[in-house]
Symmetry: C3
Subunit: 203 residues, 3 copies
Amino acid sequence: MLLKILELVGIVAFAASGALVGVSKRFDIFGVCVVGVFTGIGGGIVRDVLLGIHPPTSLTSWPLFGTAVGTSVIVFFLHSTLGRVRREILALDALGMGLFASTGAVIALDADAGVLASVLIGATAAIGGGILRDVLVNEVPLLLHRDLYAIPALLGAALVVAGTSAGLTGNTSLVIGTVVASGLRLLALWRHWSLPGPRLSRE
Amino acid sequence: MLLKILELVGIVAFAASGALVGVSKRFDIFGVCVVGVFTGIGGGIVRDVLLGIHPPTSLTSWPLFGTAVGTSVIVFFLHSTLGRVRREILALDALGMGLFASTGAVIALDADAGVLASVLIGATAAIGGGILRDVLVNEVPLLLHRDLYAIPALLGAALVVAGTSAGLTGNTSLVIGTVVASGLRLLALWRHWSLPGPRLSRE
Amino acid sequence: MLLKILELVGIVAFAASGALVGVSKRFDIFGVCVVGVFTGIGGGIVRDVLLGIHPPTSLTSWPLFGTAVGTSVIVFFLHSTLGRVRREILALDALGMGLFASTGAVIALDADAGVLASVLIGATAAIGGGILRDVLVNEVPLLLHRDLYAIPALLGAALVVAGTSAGLTGNTSLVIGTVVASGLRLLALWRHWSLPGPRLSRE
């Protein structure tokens, strides 16, 4: 139950980030909704395709799909206001990333995917929506050349898998994974942490 | 039977649109065929992956795959002529979109995908090929910032699902869905209809 | 056994090509690893999704995934040296392409995919990683407008399927398919072969 609620919050955050990108590209309302919905539920669809869950849950569930659409529509009509809350969006995006990493890992474990695959599929669910968003609007995924993003996702998913192996309940693992993944991402954004690029490695 | 024939017509239309884009980018004959084939059968492959139909029908059926290849080759060699029939291509593309939306919804219903998923997967089959085409050639999908495209696709798929629930035969639903989806798209092209963009919403 | 070793060599080659592209784009170490890993195991993941193998083998196997990560890390730290060995990378890429085409066709046959689908899925495994790499870094896939690439992949996969139908052992087919596919690609690179473009067809 907690899981479902948190999953919806993650979809809201991701859909809002996608819709805002669509607005900034001056798409019409449908283009904004397409980018918002892809970003909101794309990671979950990729996760389900990799796990063999057919059809993907996000396509069969009115609450999940409706949340992504509704968020995109609201962002489209409120965008002049939302333009000033980009920082809040980044925070929500970080929360969504942590939630998708953790819930993705739990869902993968439930589908008997094994330790390695559960970590990787959790991380894929967390980063998949953002990659789809950036490929759709024809930009190099932020993931590839910006501050820490995928490492917190991998770490969150790995903590969930480790916690479950160690006998923690699903909910406890979920909370730990989400807090660590989202917290690390927020910390990285706040402190402008990033990994060394090719330039630095030559010094 | 009618369904199969109409599906082939849809593949011809989509493959031709993809091959023409490849020609306009000055790809060699193989590049043109790759874009044409991806566009012609890509939507059906995505549909089958989402439904768990393995391997996707378009990859196991000589008529479907051969039609996509043959169309691309013909477009490559006739392109100087086809350059003048771009309007006819847009019309064929609209027909293909309607057919893929309707047939996709029927196939999804047959695979017990449920109401919501059948509508969404039908629409995905209708728009998937075009998205693949535009991402491959590194352009923002037309779907995202042009006249009505995905709404007719959603409407066509929804009519098929509603018609089937209401007791219509598969063929009747199919025809209604195709005519409405393709007709609305053609009307939008002809009258230059489009949805409001972010600019308008601020007025 | 031979198959597994050769598959690892293919992953090394593809991951190295992806990581080098990431280095040339000045990504940080994680961006380089993401592109390297996607390129190294992406083709195999697409192959497994099309065949309904859940979760994809590359996500469940430490040796496969670890090889892709390790290769990317090594390329990141050695890139100033590797910049001079681009020709060797192209050769390794050609070897990897042939191996993925052949092994992909064998895996598809083992999954009862049928003749046509086995050829197409083998070729998809061979070209999929490169397409993912180029779409991720926002460039038109090389496949689409350069020298012979997909034809050797299709030919290699077709030879494996034909050889198996003709009663050859899996290993023999595999070797023939790999040698022909990789050899043809290397020959095309060496002799600068390419297919006619739209320009030539008008003469």
